[in-house]
Symmetry: C2
Subunit: 603 residues, 2 copies
């Protein structure tokens, strides 16, 4: 089974069309402009020297920021050439080629700021940057046929292979920030060169086994932070920096499939299971702990003082996307859907040019006056000092259908829903699968098929408890022949969700979902003291269109207490009724700073 | 109106007898032992020099720790001589006399560690230490007739008056930590010397008006922390370090009464009103913010990551106790009762030798694994580095009836309840008022009176909403003559309390109270996941005696969810019934480390 290449699918209209247009028209340029302003592009000239503007001093992760942007441009270019963007990429690639060392090494930070420290500090993101440049090189070569960046990166990879694997000359053995493992496996898949597979295997298998990978910070061993506390096949609990972890686990899932490595697959499965059953916010957000941007202990899922980095959500979607290629199981599509519609999408504004690094599920702006405690930012910004998330948004939105279909022979699994046309090869011939739907506005989906006989599995989402048909591994099965069409009606009611009793932060509270979308309330709609609102579970609700939000809002009966002025008083039942307005979680914080809540009271 | 001197009242049995015995038999010696071990007593020899044991180096607030302990010993001595304790006090007083400078200055830290810095750093607690030594001197003189310490402190006060008020030679004008204001007003009251009143007036009136009092820390102006943001008569919101604030406000209330200063009284009233209506936990705990040990913004009353220093609760009781002398209003007794039975008393273990500095209303020990966030300690300890609270416990428990009765002429207000015998002077003659009650086990109170005709006002507690008799300012009025007895039955039901909707941390949650006592649940009785417990409000409950706790526990019907293993699932009503055990809040954390909750779900 393989995820069908995203460019085989053209999104035609609806929810995801809003975002494919947005990334092309706004986001990709907005990210470029901010990266240009902040010196991230100029850094590739490798001309910065001590004494120059400190603000323009290259940073250890800047190459990765630009690389993800290039990857995003490549994806956009697959669908429609963007000459101006290509020219910007080409200029950057020229700088890489020009400044790459003869031995193949390239990193704009180390070449300019710290050449004597190359491959000597595991925490310095060198291989992470290279990994993203490799992914960019593959995508750009595939999209444009231009091979300059790919050639540079192949040379760089050869150097890395020699220093790390063949000669063991680096001060550490495995990357401090995983990413190159994924890139090397993609490079192997793209080039067929087994040496890249070997190097990926080396990095994955050596992890947690090498003394020179031990990291000590502030008197603590930070091995868990770097996923180096044990060999990867022994892991069963997601730990440490959430993006690092997600990228590692993704590479484990990818390698286990290539190698048919059941032990490695079992470890990836355990880690995925641990995350989605014990460490994931209902939005798909993960890595709740600011300290180390990390996974916390099981069931610790705070809503207000939570981290949930956008890139961490991306990394979990990538893991699910990799596992989706190993076996048919609707769970992977469920998780990807949860992340894409909620905890990832909240990372970008409806205007496409502002971003969240952290994605809280509750905001109480007054709490920001409580000094000495961590509070995530309450408004998206155009760029961060550590600006990994915005270009991740570009590459994900630039390749949205990447996990939509999985194919094997003449069988297709439909994992995600959108009005979209997909080119397939069935029975050795071209085929077209058209999906028509207003999803997630409703759950009616029609497939129209042209081609040789096809077995189509359609994911029945976990949220659709009302579906009564038979399923295999969570998919409904259909046999299609040329000219067939079929319509699936997935009843899309609102559901009040509760969390496991071990999630103490959500006890006595409920989250509203409709289809894949988690809803929230904002004070701009519902007044202050959001935690005091009780929604009425009497079946009455009304969907309303909300200007600028590509999914419906919900109007629900609700009640709240009146303020009698007393600080404490004997329980009474006096409540004031009102109509609460819930908007999709991903759309929060688009109308100025205000309070937010996902987990509310319900009666 | 004056609070009747505590020693006029002898507690005979019941709840407070447990604690008067405990402080005499355990606490006073336990605090001495820890202070002796840590060098606090030896510091008075003023012999420490650079190069000596750093652990024994005097600290800027050590004098105040010992002073409060001396004050406590004095109170104990009032009731029954304690020769061994007196000898320990006398030895310390001898050291003070020996090491006091000829000009009257005494501070064990500055005399030994930093003599060149005397009165040059407002943040260094010098006048705070002197204040506590003055209070100790008055109490010890009154209890024993010994005048050595009082003589020393009068000399010290003369020096302070000269340096601060007459010559303005100190680097600052008003104390960085308030306390001496209270002490000077007590000294004026005790000696009748108007100069002490003048100096107190100087410190109170100059506050917030002097440029040399401005404090800057870490780029911030910390004027609010020190209650120096404005002149005291303009204040209306409690701000900054909660103990400092409470001591200042108390002195304002005291001075306003002495001077008949309505403007100052109005300010004290505003501040008290702000605290009790917007900034006080249901336990009477105040100063929720760890940052600066301070009052936070109105209605910010977290339960888990809360500070609520024991000394801050003491300071609020002192403020209420001072205001209680200005006008008959049952509110003051209500607040003192709330603090004494809950947020103050939680500061000492049932064994009397372990203490909380901070007093949380919720503990989730798993949350301590969430790195980078503040969590209060979950178990009492024998001594702190900053150990102001344990000796405050000694002096408060050593003088428990200090706010019990207020007298004016032949009128007595009974503010607090206990089985106790009180000596009064009524109609110019000795009189005896005996109060018989098992309070707070029940609300039946019998008064037996011997003496000339007396008007007795008895506080009807705010918790007793079932009381139907007439009240004046919250008191029931009775006329007693020799041989009279009267019985008051205050129905003591359990009440589920709710908090103002602005207290977002308590929304959807309720606290159980019975009489003045706030109840809590601990995981040792009720299992894990305390936030998931729902108490059933059907009127059924059972009081049970709990070994070692001098007030009843409550058994209540309750329910909780079973763990289905799912992280998120559609709301259902499946619950498991069980009997919840609630113990008085003050008794939490006496059976090893476990989870705690005050604000629970109720249906």
């Amino acid at each position: 089974m393989k995820n069908l290449y995203f460019a085989n699918t053209e999104i035609k209209s609806g929810f995801w069309k809003y975002y494919t247009d947005l990334v092309r028209n706004v986001t990709v340029r907005a990210v470029y402009d901010r990266f240009k302003e902040t010196g991230r592009f100029d850094a590739f000239s490798c001309s910065w020297r001590e004494g120059d503007d400190e603000n323009k001093k290259p940073h250890i992760f800047w190459d990765s920021d630009v690389a993800k942007w290039i990857e995003g441009v490549a994806y956009l270019t697959e669908t429609r050439r963007e000459e101006e963007l290509e020219a910007l990429v080409d200029a950057t690639v020229d700088e890489i080629e020009k400044n790459q060392r003869a031995d193949g090494y390239f990193n704009s930070y180390f070449l300019t700021v710290s050449p004597s420290k190359i491959y000597s500090d595991r925490s310095c993101h060198e291989l992470y940057c290279t990994g993203h440049l490799i992914e960019a090189a593959i995508a750009y070569h595939k999209a444009t046929g231009k091979d300059k960046l790919l050639t540079c990166m192949l040379k760089n990879v050869d150097f890395i292979r020699r220093i790390f694997m063949e000669e063991g000359r680096a001060s550490f053995t495995t990357p401090g920030h995983e990413e190159i493992e994924i890139a090397l496996l993609k490079l192997y898949e793209y080039t067929g060169d087994e040496r890249h597979l070997e190097l990926a295997r080396f990095f994955i298998n050596k992890r947690g086994t090498c003394e020179n990978d031990d990291m000590h910070w502030e008197g603590e061993v930070w091995d868990e932070y770097f996923q180096s506390e044990m060999p990867v096949r022994e892991m069963s609990e997601a730990k440490g920096h959430a993006v690092r972890a997600g990228y590692l686990y993704t590479s484990m899932a990818m390698l286990s499939k290539i190698d048919g490595d059941k032990e490695l697959k079992a470890a990836a499965d355990r880690l995925f299971d641990n995350i989605i059953n014990k460490k994931m916010s209902i939005t798909g957000g993960v890595g709740v702990q600011k300290h180390g941007e990390s996974y916390s202990y099981d069931y610790n899922l705070p809503n207000r003082d939570v981290y949930n980095e956008t890139c961490a959500a991306v990394s979990l979607a990538m893991l699910a996307g990799a596992l989706q290629e190993s076996e048919p199981n609707s769970l992977y599509g469920d998780i990807i859907e949860k992340i894409y519609y909620n905890g990832f999408l909240s990372g970008v504004s409806l205007s496409g040019d502002e971003f969240f690094y952290t994605n809280p599920l509750e905001l109480d702006l007054k709490k920001y006056k409580h000094k000495g405690t961590y509070q995530p930012i309450s408004q998206r910004v155009k760029v961060f000092g550590c600006s990994c998330c915005p270009p991740n948004v570009v590459r994900i939105l630039g390749s949205l259908p990447r996990y939509m279909y999985t194919v094997e022979g003449d069988t297709v699994w439909c994992n995600q829903f959108a009005h979209a046309e997909t080119k397939l090869t069935v029975g050795g011939k071209d085929a077209i699968l058209l999906q028509k739907t207003a999803y997630p506005s409703d759950g009616n989906i029609t497939f129209e098929y042209k081609g040789e006989p096809l077995t189509l599995f359609v994911r029945i989402p976990e949220w659709c408890v009302e579906y009564e048909g038979e399923t295999e591994n969570g998919f409904a099965r259909f046999e299609l022949k040329d000219g067939d069409s079929l319509t699936l009606n997935l009843p899309m009611n609102i559901h009040f969700m509760e969390a496991n009793p071990n999630v103490q932060d959500d006890s006595g509270r409920y989250a509203v979902m409709r289809g894949p979308i988690v809803y929230c309330m904002e004070s701009v709609d519902n007044g202050d003291n959001l935690r005091d609102i009780t929604l009425i579970d009497n079946g009455n609700y009304r969907l309303v269109e909300e200007k600028g939000i590509p999914a419906p809002a919900i109007i629900l009966d609700a009640e709240r207490r009146e303020n009698t002025g007393k600080l404490y008083y004997i329980k009474n039942s006096a409540r004031v009724s009102f109509s609460a307005k819930l908007i999709p979680y991903f759309a929060f914080a688009n109308r100025g700073a205000c309070d937010l809540i996902v987990w509310t009271q319900v009666r």
